[in-house]
Each structure stands twice: as structure tokens, then as C-alpha cells.
Amino acid sequence: MNAIPAPILMMENVTVDFDGFKALTDVSLNLTPGDLRILIGPNGAGKSTLCDTIIGRVRPTSGKIIFKDQVITNLPEQEIVRRGICRKFQTPGVLPTLTVFENLLVAGRKNRAWYRSFTTKTPPAETARAEEILTQIGLEDRRNIIAADLAHGEKQWLEIGMVVATDADLLLLDEPTAGMGPTDTQRTAQLILSLLGRHAVLVIDHDMSFVEALNGYVTVLHQGQILAEGTVAEIRADAQVTAVYLGRAEDAEPAHA
């Protein structure tokens, strides 16, 4: 058996209960540093809640979350980010009246103390890193326009860029291709793959072509519980998954159009 590196994130028996509705039941999940994990599941399976729980937006009713060997279950949100987890939201969470570059600078501030902000000078290292990410997300020519003026796909990339700019070791990307056409989706997949190694990435999506392009290890969530785990091929072959997720998702599609 190969030596498995110590997990960067461990969720141990996490349960989230919203006034009687169990959004997550007894979920355990380990993520490897620098590696990719894809989380899929039908609507309402608890994918976003799982992300919310990791970053402290939702507190688990029971269970533990361990990041880099430390329990982070009840830390304040900004402290969790400072430990190295950053998340992209489902609807693009860019800062609309700031320029693209300012968005990246806000995300990339190394010293986050508020009293260090009373200066018009940005440390050269931060500017350089922001320029680098700007190129990586392919928005060089959009540098100085306000984020509100970006196309939908560009906003998604900008937000991925912001998440990257925090230099977090673990990135949570919630539906990074929502609302994108096939070309942009492929481009997003390439972008995400280029992040691996430096960052561990957890992607939530249900676009199967995107999942296949990423070709990572997949976890299937269903009704707040882990249904199956495996490679894309294994999941495709799993009859149970096909029954609850793939089949139903297609049935349900028109209702959510």
C-alpha cells in the first residue's frame, strides 16, 4: 500500500441540523494537500451546507472539523480564512464597484490588520502577485474596469482569482461554472487544474462534462449523507448513484430551468 500523506482537512462525523431538518448527517471526509476533490449530488443534497460548515458560516450540531491538525470547528470566519481555507460562493461574490485589480488586491492583502490600511501604498510583492493571478485568470485586459461590468463568466474567474490570491491551502469552489457555456467551462477546468499542487481544491458542481474534464476523485452526497466515493469512471458505473442522482437530476431539470 502506498504511503498516503496526512490529510489537510478532516471532517469527522459532522451533522448539521436546521430545526429538525438534517442538512448533513454524520459526514466524514478527508482531503489531501494539493489535491483535487469533486463533490456532486442532486439539489438539496447538502453540498453548499458542507462548504458553509467548513468555513464557519454554519456551525455543526455535532462532529469535528480538523484543518492542518487543528480543530477549527468553532473559530470565527475570518480566523478560518487566515488559517488557510477560502471559498468561492455559488453566485459570484465579486465586489462590484471595485476594479478587477482592486478586487484581487483586497483578496491578496497579506497583513489583514485594519490599522495597517491607512496608506495609499500597496506592498510591491502583493501587486506582483495580483498581476500574476490576473494573467492566470486571463483578465489582463479587464484590469481597470469595475467588476460589475464583467461578463458572468469573467466574474466567476475573478472570484476564483480572489480565492487564489488569499494563498489559502484549501480552496472551496462552489459551482464555478454555473451559467457558463461549454468553451468557458473548459477554460475554467484548465484554470482549476493549474491551481493543483499549490492548493488543495474542493469543487462542487453537477455539470458532468466539467467533472469529466477535471477528472478527479469524486464524492457523491445524497440527502446529507455520503452515498459513494471514487473516480469519475467508478461513479459513472455506480448503479446507486445513477438511480438517485443522474436519473433524477435529468427528471428534475425542467422544473429548475
Binding site: 461574490g93 462590484p96 464597484t97 482592486e102 478586487n103 492583502r109 485594519w114 490599522y115 460589475a148 480572489m162
Partner: protein, 357 residues
Amino acid sequence: MTFQKKYIFAAAAILFGALAPFIINPYELSLLGRFLALSILAMGIMLTWGEAGILSLGQGVFFGLGGYALAMHLKLEGLNLANGDMPDFMVWSGVSALPGFWYPFANPYFSLACVVIVPGAFAAAFSWLVFRRRVGGVYFALITQALALAFSTLLISQQAYTGGFNGLTDYSTMFGIDITTEYAARYIYWITFLFVVAVYFFLRWLLASRYGVMLRATRDGENRVRFLGHDPVPYKVVAFGIAGALAGIGGALFTLHAGVVSPALVGVVPSIEMVVWVAVGGRNILWGAIAGTLLVNFAKDQISSAFPSLWLYGLGALFILAVSFLPAGIAGLFRPGSGEERVMRRILSRRKLSTAE
């Protein structure tokens, strides 16, 4: 507006402002002076409401704190405290000795420091208590309105210590100089004008700094900022504290011009009227805040005597029209199709309620 024109206008405005005592008559100068004092407060509202997205309906409180801090000194000047002298209103309120907290205000420097520190610190502390629990938006507006009501009620009811409903008035000297002469009025005007210019450039710098970017980021997406690892609370608290201090400075200068500070200036209604100055002028443009303050107040001065009931309809209509059709204010009109006007429209229409549309 082109680059050059902009600077010509700015230079003309500054020149007129500086030379106003030689151009307009003393009465008009006194009006301009007191409205400029108010515009310092308005710039603070621009900072919190426009740039930080925090609507305060209680700026009158901080205005009043600044005004009273100075007025307390002015009431004590010329009194022989060792002799047991007291301001007149304390005598007829049945107070037997000057209350302890009044004593330090006999020192003009202490009093001037309080003009800035008391409202600034109180605003910061108050907003911290609210923001730290992530209460904001409409809730914050309503809480500040309750604050304005409570503060004016308290001022009125503690007559023996505050002068009550009458407020503090009838002062004559500061630093031993007669402040009621026409000559003194000019200097008070120039001091006010200097403050307006200084505050304008200070806020320009502040808004261009990284702090300014963080503040707008917080307004745009408080949660996004939080999940980028920043604590948004201090940015908002600092903005509110600065706005409080500016309101205090404005209040003190206004008190010097008007010769009176009273609860009528700090309650619910005046506090909300202050917001309309900025709404009319432009909530995201500094000079708009100044222009709006001057315009609304001069209009009020002229219209309310001739047509008092028309003025109230007009003020009501101004609220409705300014926020409905002119979210970037009059200043926004000068930048059609670009800049603040468009940005405002965008962020304002960002949150469409009914997805059924």
C-alpha cells in the same frame, strides 16, 4: 466635464470661499458660514452612507455633542468658578453648585479636544456595539433614530445640567476675545472654511487609501470580505467614528456661528434632514455633499418663510425624488453615463427582489 474645467471650477470655488467676507454682506456671510459648518457633517454622512453603506439617522447626536462641548466652555468663560459662579440656567433650575463634569470645560483646550473626541469616540463605541453583532442596514438606521430620540429627550429632561429645552446660548467671548463682533464673525467664517477645505482633502486622501478600498469592499459585500479573511467591523467602526467626529466639529462651528446650541438641532427630524442634504448633493461625491448642504439650506431659508407649508411638501418631495430618480444626486448629473451615477445605479439595482419579473 473636462479635466481643465474641473480645476477651474475648483479654483473658483476656493477663491470665492476665501474671499467671501469681502464679497457678500455680513448676514449672507453668517448664513454661508453656518451652512459650511453643516457641510462638514454632510461630508461625514457621505463617508458612512455613500462609501460604507451605513445609513445613520442619528447624526444630530454627534453634531449636538460637539456643539455642547464647545458651548459648555463658552458658558463658563468669564465666570469666576472659585467664587461659586454658575451659568444662569443652573441657578433657576435649583442647582446649588456647578456639577463636577462641567469643571474641566472651563479649559478651552479641553473643550476643543472634546469637540472631536467625545462624538468620535461615542460614535465608534456605539457602532462597534451594534456592528460586532452583525446588526446593520435597516436595523442600524432604526437604532440610530432611537438614539437621536433618546439623546434629545435626555438633553431636555436634564435641564439643570444641559440647559434643557432652551439649550445653551448667550455667550460672548472665547480665549478672551469678543466673538460677537462683525470682525470676529469673519474669522469664524475663515476658520470654518479652512476646516471644510481640510476635511475635504483629508477625506479624498482617506478614500483613495487602501482603507477607502476596504471600506467600499465592505459596502459591496460584507460577507465576501469576511470570507477573504478580513474583519469588516473595524472599517465600518472607523468610518462611523470619523463621521461622528466630523459631525462634532460641524456642531461646534455651527454653535459659534449661530450663537446657540439646543435640542432642536439634535432630534429625530433634524437628523434625518441631514441625510437629505447628501441625498440631493450626491452620496458618493464629496463636493456633492457640500453643494447639497448649501443648496437645500439656502432654499429652506428662502422658501420656508414665504411659503411654510410649501416647504414641507417640497422637503417631502425632495426625499422621494432624490432617492428614487437621482441616487447619485445632483453631482451625479455632471457625470452622466460614467462614474458614480452609473455605478450607483448598478449596485442599487443589484438586488432585485422579485425573481418572477
